[in-house]
Symmetry: C2
Subunit: 332 residues, 2 copies
């Protein structure tokens, strides 16, 4: 029993170390479902597996399982593979949509492979996830969240190039695109521990809040110039026509000239006429990032409250730390 061991879990490595062995098993499960049968899918899957950050959802699920009194059972591992395959599938299709040249400092999957293979690789990963979810009896939840995620992308796509985005619009997309899948990680973590109902709802709510914060911080990172670390280049969202919360907050107070400047970037889809530094200055001027970070903290505060209701354990420490890391850390 871990409950009596309350040694602090202080950094990212220690958080992941707690479930390191299970994460290896998750990788193997993903390999079996996504790689084994297909040479064409292999390079894409392998590429995905190089991003440790990409396994955050499985780690979250496994930690939730432990917090709910379960362990790294076969079921938890299979469900970890399900959420990671869904995330990977959505990434592959999203990448095609964004046609971004860089993600996490490596060529995006769209550049790595022809569009055709990417569509099918995405389909294949989704279907693999669904097949395992079916075996584990959780397909209803998984189909539901996949629909939410696709709907989130559609909503976002519908608003591409629009400057009149509100805070509520942003929250809707953040919920659909990211928080829903996080929420399912919490729920499935409880399922794997065999404690569905009330405990499952709490873990689901915890993970949902974490997901909301995670995406908001990710949106902030698009307004932080950072040349030194290999990651998605700043300004990518705006360049593909997406207006996210930091900019929405800034635009609330912007002058007409400033709004027109942003509208110009949205129209051109480039920083040729208006350099990105001017957009950064605008967001800075009206505390767009600061206000978004404060909004993210509201979600992590709620997440912290929920985790605190569980008995003290290393796993609880790890989830508190993860919660802190989400707002402090650059996950890109």
């Amino acid at each position: 029993m871990e409950i009596l061991r309350t040694r602090q879990v202080e950094n990212e490595d220690e958080v992941f170390d707690l479930v390191r062995e299970d994460l290896h098993s998750v990788e193997k499960a993903i390999d079996i479902e996504s790689v084994a049968s297909f040479d064409t899918v292999t390079p894409i899957s392998k590429h995905l597996q190089q991003n440790r950050g990409e396994r955050l959802r499985a780690a979250l699920l496994l930690l939730c399982t432990r917090l709910a009194g379960g362990d790294g059972s076969r079921r938890a591992i299979q469900l970890g593979a399900v959420v990671e395959m869904m995330h990977a599938a959505a990434l592959v299709h999203d990448d095609m949509i964004d046609a971004q040249q860089m993600r996490l400092g490596r060529p995006s999957r769209s550049v790595l492979c022809a569009n055709g293979i990417c569509v099918l690789a995405g389909d294949w990963l989704y279907l693999g996830a669904f097949r395992v979810a079916l075996q584990e009896g959780v397909l209803d939840r998984v189909i539901g969240v996949a629909q939410m995620m696709a709907m989130g992308e559609l909503i976002q796509l519908n608003r591409i190039g629009c400057i009149g985005i509100t805070e509520a619009d942003c929250m809707e997309v953040v919920n659909h695109k990211t928080a829903c899948l996080f929420s399912v990680c919490g729920k499935l973590g409880a399922v794997a521990a065999g404690v569905e109902t009330r405990e499952g709802d709490r873990l689901s709510e915890f993970a949902w809040n974490l997901g909301m914060a995670f995406q908001l911080i990710d949106d902030i990172m698009d307004f932080v110039p950072c040349e030194s670390t290999p990651r998605k280049p700043a300004g990518s969202d705006l360049k593909v026509g997406k207006v996210t919360l930091p900019l929405v907050y800034a635009l609330e107070h912007a002058s007409t000239a400033e709004r027109n400047m942003v509208a110009g970037v949205l129209q051109d889809r480039s920083y040729d006429a208006v350099p990105f530094t001017e957009v950064l200055a605008l967001v800075d001027r009206y505390n767009g990032a600061q206000r978004t970070r404060a909004r993210a903290r509201q979600f992590t505060d709620r997440a912290r409250q929920i985790v605190a209701q569980f008995p003290d354990s290393r796993c609880r420490h790890a989830l508190h730390t993860l919660n802190d890391l989400v707002t402090e850390h650059d996950w890109r």
Copy 2:
């Protein structure tokens, strides 16, 4: 009871008329799942609904239900919507892969909309199909066939531009891409009639044979120049690097010079250096289409045998007629 009414069902219209009302209900079910919630998906879905040929799978399922003694129950209609949404989803993603400019005489979905929306529209249709399949308790079969279809596309994509394709290679793709979904139509038809086991297997085998023939005839149509009717232009498959059975048969007897000519088209992905008429002449010279048609007949012969085992009815006539139509008719 229709069993005593054995009036002939002689043409396509009469075949579809038998299940016309149910097909309207299928359309409504598809609307509910795929259109209602999304403006962006609507134009794509509407476009799909203009192709009557695209409802062949639902009609097949509904006819199989009746042959097995069932009727147009809500379940049959829901399952009809499932197979049509899966077919439409696969078409949307395939279109992106082929990037063909024309399909069925109208701009392809890839031209109608940006790639992004097409990926998501495909995902959305798949998820709608899965959701309904889950409600109807047939998701295991549906996920399985979706994997087969995706695998078929991957196999085909892997062989793009290859000249060394064998008859067995072609049959593998035809099975995965088309016959599997037809087979599921037969199976689900039986499920809707409440007669799963033996009758289901027979209907599944019937529909599989029909699907094999259907795809082989579709492959032949790519070698039939037809400017008058609006359809996918001839020579499309080869132009995107796909070698199908009529050409495989011709290449078995072709000279080195003739092989090099085809290799040239595959390499260039165009008919600039070698006009399509020369490829047509080659396929003609070695009876490529004729041999493929004979191969398709073997499948329809088997399909006819299976249907003949059922009691005489208008529905049985209709399926016999459908069987004949598959080899005689241009469905493109």
